[in-house]
């Protein structure tokens, strides 16, 4: 079902072509999930949304991200599920569960590879991972963090994990890695908070033999922890540049519910970009579309999810679209900023006292 842009750059597809093709894909994906996921069918039916009408992309019903925590949403038979992704996401305790069949799992990898090739080229680079090796621990669940590390590690070779089993920086391995590969391009990967914690804060420069001037950093996972201590994206970049001469920094944004079709922020412009596999809308409190440069709730569409109805999701993040097709960095498609999670209102519970 998925159309891969094998020899095309997925960030070079212009609005006119994309809109038409994307609408058709979402239409058939919606039909697919309607036919194969009972809960999804109920939602479409209750909204009296007619799939045979000429609908606009913005009018297709969105699934709020928290629904994946409350229900097991699947569009394939349970026997076809080969992997279940689990994330903690928004509300902490309950986990969202994403059920992958073989096709969906392999499409995630293919799409991610297609997107990554724009940043990294076709060649696989030596890779430094700012984390512990997940295979050191025998985990029963396949959490989002290990999934991301495993998922991204296929884009590198000669993997080196910065942290040892005790969660300390392994300077010996790091220096071995830098000595061997630091002279030419190499890839650094990690969660935004882990990069801050380890590369910006903990790392002792005097113990490191070489700088990171040849590194390409790819990081993601959200700014929630850093917002609390008032570290913005630009401060983050500035600190990395000053401390270890790391300049080429790519931030990515995406949902575990839409693994694969990530949005990439280029250090050249500082904006996140939609690829040909994804689309973004920003909506106000009435779910009406907002014009560019107005802040609101982010809705994300992806062409990847087939084994669960995650192709059209209302997130709990606040963002704004800056423009489309005309970013100074040269990438096409919508570009935008994420301002973090919508602030939690004061929760009043079962109060008998009023």
């Amino acid at each position: 079902m998925l159309h891969l842009f094998k020899n095309l750059n997925p960030f070079m597809i212009k609005k006119k072509f994309k809109n038409k093709f994307f609408l058709n894909k979402i239409k058939s994906l919606t039909m697919h999930h309607y036919k194969n996921c009972n809960q999804y069918k109920k939602i479409i039916n209750n909204f009296k949304f007619n799939l045979r009408n000429k609908n606009q992309l913005k009018d297709f019903p969105m699934i709020p991200v928290r629904l994946f925590k409350k229900f097991d949403l699947k569009s394939v038979k349970s026997s076809k599920v080969v992997k279940t992704l689990v994330s903690s996401g928004t509300s902490g305790q309950t986990l969202s569960k994403i059920f992958l069949d073989k096709e969906n799992a392999s499409n995630q990898v293919k799409v991610l590879a297609n997107i990554m090739s724009v940043i990294l080229g076709k060649k696989r680079l030596p890779m430094l991972i700012i984390d512990q090796n997940p295979s050191l621990f025998n985990k029963s669940t396949f959490d989002a963090k290990s999934a991301a590390i495993f998922g991204f590690s296929i884009f590198g070779i000669n993997h080196c994990y910065l942290l040892n089993k005790k969660n300390n920086i392994d300077y010996k391995s790091l220096n071995l890695f830098l000595n061997k590969y630091g002279g030419s391009q190499f890839l650094v990967f990690g969660f935004t908070s882990m990069i801050y914690e380890n590369l910006i804060k903990k790392l002792l420069i005097k113990n490191v033999k070489k700088d990171f001037s040849n590194a390409i950093l790819l990081h993601g996972g959200g700014w929630k922890k850093l917002e609390k201590i008032k570290i913005s994206n630009s401060i983050f970049r500035e600190k990395l540049r000053k401390k270890i001469k790391l300049n080429k920094i790519y931030n990515y944004y995406g949902l575990v519910e839409q693994t694969g079709s990530i949005f990439v922020e280029s250090y050249k412009c500082g904006y996140l970009h939609a690829s040909a596999y994804s689309e973004i809308y920003v909506r106000d409190k009435n779910f009406d579309l907002l014009e560019n440069k107005k802040k609101g709730l982010i809705q994300l569409l992806s062409l990847v999810p087939t084994s669960y109805p995650g192709h059209n999701i209302l997130t709990e993040d606040i963002g704004e679209i800056i423009g489309e097709d005309d970013c100074k960095c040269g990438l096409k498609g919508k570009y935008f900023i994420v301002h973090g999670r919508a602030k939690e209102a004061e929760i009043r519970g079962c109060s008998d006292a009023r």
Binding site: I43, F71, E346, R348, C350, S351, D352, A353
Partner: protein, 395 residues
């Protein structure tokens, strides 16, 4: 187990703490409550907190009501009351405390650990009253404590209390109930409840537009003030009588207008509301119609087969509606969980008649629309003054 006094001292950090027993509505407690409301008024920004405004009103209400005591038994407080209040409700604990105080008891009140501004304001008012000489006796027989879910403290206090008042979800209540209390002690529990509204169609359709708007405003107050999260917030409206679609639409259109001008949604509200709607869609099979007035108001009409309604709950302005022929046909929808029924267009005799005739296990309050969120000393079917005191016969 250490003795009662040493546990009291240990828990309250007050070496003078001692359980004091008094008559219900004793002067000291009444004065304290009225001085408390004076103290609250001193806060300049009090108008920002509707819960506190209501609390002030509530405090003044009790002075009047209480004097009509013509009981033939002498009543005295049970002794030490242990209140366990929900961690997510800002003002609940103070009402629980007042129930204990008014019925003549000493109180240990476990208050929410979460930081609510309302909680701070209430506690600072209490603190300043406790500093006054005339309330020294109350200071040494009442205390407010917070701790996390360490059952150790709960066990200790439970072992010396004469009554436990437990608010919270069913799970919390069941957990706490497993903890031993002395044989003569009692538990009063306030678990999750469900509330609804009823409207007499015949009366409603005769209302002038102005009167209609007044009524809808009252419903707005009941339904939106606590984001439908309170046990007494309505989720369902039953239209009783011959179906009048036009009148119903008038009601909802009017409500929509009021919400648009009065209620301020934030992003989290609307995401929660939309998520809740979809959850309801998935959990229930039978919705005939869903009308979304943007995100201001969702009105859901389940189909005829829907009978079990206690799990169909809205949030931030999602209401379910149903037409039924007469008041007696409401009984099929009433379960143990049902607490408040707010009404329009019925008289008290009709309502009492309905309650007596129908073998009901639910409904603890029937109040006019607009009063659903009020809290009374008779609550969830308990007369709290009677429940928290002993009746002593002297012949």
């Amino acid at each position: 187990m250490p003795d009662k006094q040493s546990i009291e001292k240990d828990i309250t950090y007050n070496k003078n703490f001692k359980t004091k027993i008094a008559e219900p509505f004793n002067k000291l407690s009444l004065n304290f409550i009225s001085d408390f409301s004076q103290e609250l008024r001193k806060f300049k920004k009090i108008s920002l907190y509707p819960d506190l405004i209501y609390l002030i009103f509530w405090c003044s209400k009790y002075k009047k009501k209480i004097t009509e005591n013509n009981e033939k038994y002498l009543r005295m407080g049970r002794g030490l009351v242990f209140h366990i209040c929900p961690s997510n409700v800002p003002t609940n604990f103070i009402y629980s405390f007042f129930f204990g105080l008014l019925s003549g008891n000493s109180n240990i009140v476990k208050i929410p650990s979460k930081d609510f501004k309302e909680k701070e304001i209430i506690l600072s008012a209490i603190k300043s009253l406790f500093k006054r000489r005339k309330y020294l006796a109350l200071k040494n027989s009442n205390t407010f404590i917070t701790y996390d879910i360490t059952t150790d403290k709960t066990k200790k206090i439970s072992s010396i209390c004469d009554a436990r008042v437990i608010w919270g979800g069913n799970k919390t209540i069941n957990e706490i109930r497993k903890i031993w209390i002395p044989e003569r002690s009692i538990d009063i529990t306030f678990p999750d409840r469900y509330s609804l509204s009823i409207i007499n169609v015949k009366k409603f359709e005769k209302e002038s537009p102005k009167e209609m708007e007044k009524l809808v405003k009252k419903f707005y107050y009941d339904g939106y003030t606590m984001n439908q999260l309170a046990c007494n917030s309505p989720h369902f409206i039953f239209w009783i009588g011959k179906k009048n679609k036009e009148a119903q639409n008038k009601f909802w259109n009017c409500l929509n207008k009021i919400v648009k001008t009065k209620f301020v949604f934030d992003h989290v509200h609307v995401v929660d509301k939309y998520t809740n709607l979809l959850e309801n869609i998935i959990n229930e099979k039978n919705f005939n119609n869903i009308k979304m007035f943007k995100n201001n108001l969702y009105v859901v009409t389940p189909d005829k087969k829907t009978k079990k309604i206690e799990n169909i709950r809205g949030i931030n302005g999602t209401f379910f509606q149903k037409n039924i022929k007469n008041l007696n046909s409401l009984k099929e929808f009433i379960s143990k969980k049902c607490q408040t029924v707010s009404y329009f267009g019925f008289d008290k005799y009709e309502l009492k008649d309905f309650l007596k005739k129908n073998n009901l296990t639910g409904i603890d309050r029937m109040v006019p629309m607009g009063s659903a969120l009020e809290i009374d000393i008779v609550w969830d079917g308990y007369d709290l003054i009677k429940s928290l005191s002993r009746a002593i016969s002297v012949e």
